[in-house]
């Protein structure tokens, strides 16, 4: 599929839904509140913006005040913070990591580079628009944003989670074909990850009309059973 065709795909945003049952509503709000108050941020420095995270995490700006702590393993993490540019090599790992994270998961793109290529817009090595590869909840502007801006952004995210508006992770399941298409465009048609996204989408009952499509067909045709990791030395 050509790049230009992919551009035409528009993703509809999912509005926050309120349930009819008032008790369920209260429950949802309670869950949102709890989620927003205990967030683990994946400790993965993908780019130069990561240099402002240690100050934000440690005593001076102290994001633990907000209940946010770094977490080293993707399985336990809630927030994937993309700190600036992602090289194509890193992007593969980031997608692997993103798919491994348990829902609900939130993605924040900081720095210019995650939006439109930033400084490295003409570089052959970096991906330009993060939202082509997986959905993003929040962007923080800056090159790089100061710790205060990062914390401000995290507070924004907390508000969104509390209001049950941070649902971008559902987009990934609903529009998997679009995201997979972009991934295939960049990594080649042999691209596959160990996570069975389609299966997960069905389990979560989030599979929609755009979950499957021509790209998932390609994936299913090339998908090979996982083998033990091989390393050449």
């Amino acid at each position: 599929m050509k790049k230009s065709d992919l551009d035409k795909v528009k993703i509809k945003q999912i509005p926050a839904q309120k349930r009819t049952n008032p008790f369920a509503n209260v429950f949802d709000e309670f869950v949102g509140f709890c989620r927003s108050r205990s967030m683990f941020m994946l400790h993965y420095c993908t780019g130069c913006g990561a240099i402002e995270l240690p100050p934000a995490m440690t005593s001076r700006f102290d994001m633990e005040r907000l209940g946010i702590q770094p977490m080293v393993s993707p399985r336990q993490a809630d927030i994937l913070l993309i700190t600036g540019y992602v090289s194509i090599k890193t992007l593969k790992r980031v997608i692997l990591t993103y798919e491994q994270m348990a829902a609900p998961k939130y993605v924040i793109g900081i720095c210019s580079c995650t939006v439109n290529g930033g400084m490295y817009w003409q570089s052959y090595a970096t991906a330009k628009k993060l939202d082509e590869y997986f959905p993003v909840d929040l962007y923080i502007a800056g090159c790089m944003p100061r710790p205060e801006a990062v914390i401000e952004g995290l507070q924004q995210l907390m508000q969104k989670i509390k209001a049950n508006e941070a649902n971008s992770w559902k987009q990934y399941y609903k529009n998997y074909d679009y995201f997979l298409g972009n991934q295939q465009h960049l990594f080649g048609n042999n691209w596959q990850t160990p996570t069975d996204v389609i299966g997960e989408a069905e389990t979560y009952q989030l599979a929609g009309p755009n979950t499957l499509g021509e790209h998932t067909k390609i994936l299913q045709s090339v998908q090979t059973p996982l083998k033990p990791l091989e390393m050449k030395l």
Partner: protein, 193 residues
């Protein structure tokens, strides 16, 4: 650098045939030699003239001459002089000898040059990919690889259309020149009048 050292070095370097020396400043000495003579020069500099530190190997792609220029930057802790040994090798087939046996760090630089320029070093311990393991294109540092063109063909950009822009477009204004058009060397004003 003391005069004694300089004379010593001069005497030593006489052994290499066809060497041309130019002092850029007292601490930067440029040596131009034939590609075949380089290993001998390096062996001499390392073995007998205290140039033990290989600071870097740089590669320059002189595409108009169809040549790669290799520059070996060597530093002597004793005389505090940096010798840059320049050689030229043909771009095609792009093969040269490794100096790994003389300077161990050369392995890294040679691997890097091989990856970025596609210049193969015979005898280097490892010529496998390193940084660009997931890159299938041509060696990117070659002058004939146009990074911007590749990017334009591969990626798409944000199509911003904020409210203020829509308002201006209704008034008859709007974007008159994008940065890309400026980079292409067009002066958009010219066509207007």
């Amino acid at each position: 650098m003391s005069i004694a050292h300089s004379q010593n070095l001069n005497v030593l370097l006489q052994e290499i045939e066809g060497i041309q020396l130019t002092f850029h400043n007292p601490r930067r000495l440029r040596a131009d030699i034939a590609a075949e003579a380089l290993p001998a020069l390096l062996a001499l500099l390392r073995g007998r003239a205290s140039y033990v530190h290989l600071s870097a190997i740089s590669c320059v792609d002189w595409i108009d001459d169809n040549q790669f220029e290799l520059v070996y930057h060597l530093w002597s802790y004793e005389t505090s002089v940096l010798i840059s040994a320049h050689i030229r090798v043909p771009r095609d087939p792009g093969i040269y000898l490794s100096v790994f046996d003389i300077y161990t760090p050369a392995a890294f630089f040679e691997r890097d040059i091989h990856e970025m320029f596609g210049l193969y070093f015979e005898g280097s311990p490892d010529m496998s990919k390193f940084i660009l393991t997931e890159w299938n294109g041509p060696p990117p540092m070659r002058k004939d690889f146009d990074s911007e063109k590749w990017v334009m063909e591969t990626f798409s950009w944000q199509q911003y259309h904020p409210d203020w822009l829509q308002e201006l477009e209704q008034q008859g204004g709007g974007i008159v020149s994008t940065p890309e058009s400026i980079r292409a060397g067009n002066r958009p004003m010219e066509n207007k009048s």
